[in-house]
Symmetry: C2
Subunit: 336 residues, 2 copies
DNA sequence: CTGAAAGCGCTAACAC
DNA sequence: GTGTTAGCGCTTTCAG
């Protein structure tokens, strides 16, 4: 069933059917009705590949979301979609695996949908410019930066929190509450990515306050997985109990970590204070509620779209914005 | 940059380039190398729309995932993808909003990617056959059923738990532990969907055990949202404290509900026992751990793929499988 | 082994 | 208002 069949069945030409399908004005009401009925009757659906192929441009903006389990991203996607629509463009969301190559996915999407621009929700922190050659439209890295890469700053935009600074503030909060022995459970010390950045922020805070980092207080987990976080905290506890606070680099890790503490007889926050980064919704509904640095998801989403649209108008425009994560105080931290 | 440009730059024809790109054997090694280098140099990416358009068939199986925030689905998608790949087909995942029309999305995807079959992860429970006319390939409803609809059983397959029975078992568990006053907080009593089914299961359990349903113990929330669940439980508590157990129809709702109980001074499970359905990972990491009926995600995923593949081989084949959800005991239920 | 050419289904000039 | 037609970028016969 193609547009030809519909045309034939209605006794009109394909262009007329095409006009009806695309709500062009130059069609008599009578013909429009006839075509619409036939389309309905046949449950005809236009072939999108053919449409995209012939279209020379569009008002489409691709949104590549990396990691389908990331609640943080799916929430932002909502705002981004609304914002794009409201500005007269059409969002084209595309989910990929958290291990997948977002640049490649973006490049394919760009050609397929004739995109005007791209928004990446999550991606690598270490692009080099040659691999970005495949992307020929303006793009914004949303919620991450290219701090470990060598990209020319003018060639793209980014909107995110300052991960290192935020981690530093989180740990600083613990220190200001009197904690000195602060453990950290992290996926990796040097993944050239978010884990490394937040770990560096942890070190910064210690340094700033004249506290010596103790490697016995640092445990690596290999991933952001809850099970691994749980086990990481248990390993930490087996090695030493000599700490009063625990810094976790994500909310989900913190939730699993708190459970490990409880299971080992350590009460939060009486025995151990816990602080994290992200500000997920669920963190408000656990006991005790988690103290966490909230990423301004909505603002991040809106800023990203705004910047991208400005890049479309004005080639050469680019911005790198660091938004502030603010502490949402829960009940997981106490003064010592 | 199209296949033509590559061909021209290499001094060969487009068909030769196409052959190289699709790893056909009939190309001299020398030419293959030349083409590959040029492709690399130009960061050329074939246009997928054009490919899909010209392709007459494929080994692609569409997986329409409804609801991007559903952790349960993203976990199943992994297994489904692996299983499809292993069987020699190619999974084409496609995420849509939880409010979106999965049938339409599936139909579009089917034509665009020339799918052999479709797998729906989440969808409406009340299809009528006319709206399914748009789908011309075998499909399996995964994790839900068409119990409120009028679809011909032979025209499709489904794999899911028996929601009503599972709810009945969950509440039955509470009753067997001595509870008689059992409250329920649900999105809706009659949404022709999962909420209604699980609510009916709740009523079944009461009925079977000669307990009269008390509408004062039932609170509707309007959605599965955590905030709404939290507020629902608070409303319930304001109205009555005369219950010893609480049935929540999903894990996330239960987590928020437990928080509401705690915030109102009700300890779980000392004052109120809580049980739910789903078996999310996170439910193992909250305090107290949640007692919940676990949906066999992996088995569901694998069965779905298996059935779909059989439907491809044997048109006319169809199955409707109800898998069993098993209780994962947490610490949220006590005997009274 | 390689090239020429016929479409895949659709849109958008361009005629009438 | 409506029809005709030239591609969009690619794969795939069919010749050579």
């Amino acid at each position: 069933m193609t547009i030809k069949d519909i045309a034939k069945n209605c006794g009109v030409s394909v262009s007329t059917v095409s006009r009806v399908l695309n709500s062009h004005p130059d069609v008599s009401e009578e013909v429009r009705q006839r075509v619409l009925e036939e389309v309905e009757r046949c449950a005809y659906i236009p072939n999108d590949s053919a449409r995209n192929l012939v279209k020379s441009s569009s008002d489409a903006i691709g949104v590549v979301v990396r990691g389908t389990e990331n609640l943080f991203f799916s929430r932002m996607l909502q705002t981004i979609g609304d914002e794009i629509t409201q500005r007269g463009y059409a969002p084209v969301p595309h989910f990929i695996d958290s291990e997948a190559d977002e640049v490649k996915a973006g490049a394919i999407l760009e050609r397929e949908k004739k995109l005007r621009g791209l928004l990446f929700l999550g991606g690598r922190y270490d692009y080099v410019s040659t691999e970005l050659a495949a992307i020929r439209v303006p793009f914004v890295c949303c919620s991450y930066t290219n701090i470990f890469g060598t990209l020319n700053e003018e060639s793209y935009s980014s909107v995110s929190i300052d991960d290192r600074l935020t981690a530093c503030r989180a740990v600083g909060e613990l220190i200001s509450r009197g904690h000195r022995r602060i453990a950290a459970v992290i996926p990796a010390r040097s993944d050239r990515s978010i884990s490394e950045l937040r770990y560096l922020g942890y070190l910064d805070a210690l340094m700033e306050n004249g506290i010596e980092a103790d490697s016995a207080l640092i445990e690596e987990t290999g991933s952001f997985d809850m099970r691994e976080s749980y086990e990481g905290v248990r390993r930490l506890l087996e090695r030493t109990e000599d700490f009063t606070a625990l810094f976790m680099i994500s909310d989900t890790m913190a939730i699993a970590g708190m459970k490990a503490l409880e299971d080992c007889g350590k009460h939060v926050p009486q025995d151990v204070s816990v602080i994290a980064i992200d500000g997920l919704n669920v963190s408000k509904y656990i006991s005790p509620t988690l103290s966490t640095m909230v990423q301004p998801a909505d603002e991040m989403a809106r800023e990203s779209v705004q910047i991208l649209l400005k890049m479309l108008e004005d080639p050469g425009y680019s911005r790198h914005i660091r938004l502030e994560a603010v502490l949402r105080e829960g009940a997981s931290v106490r003064n010592v």
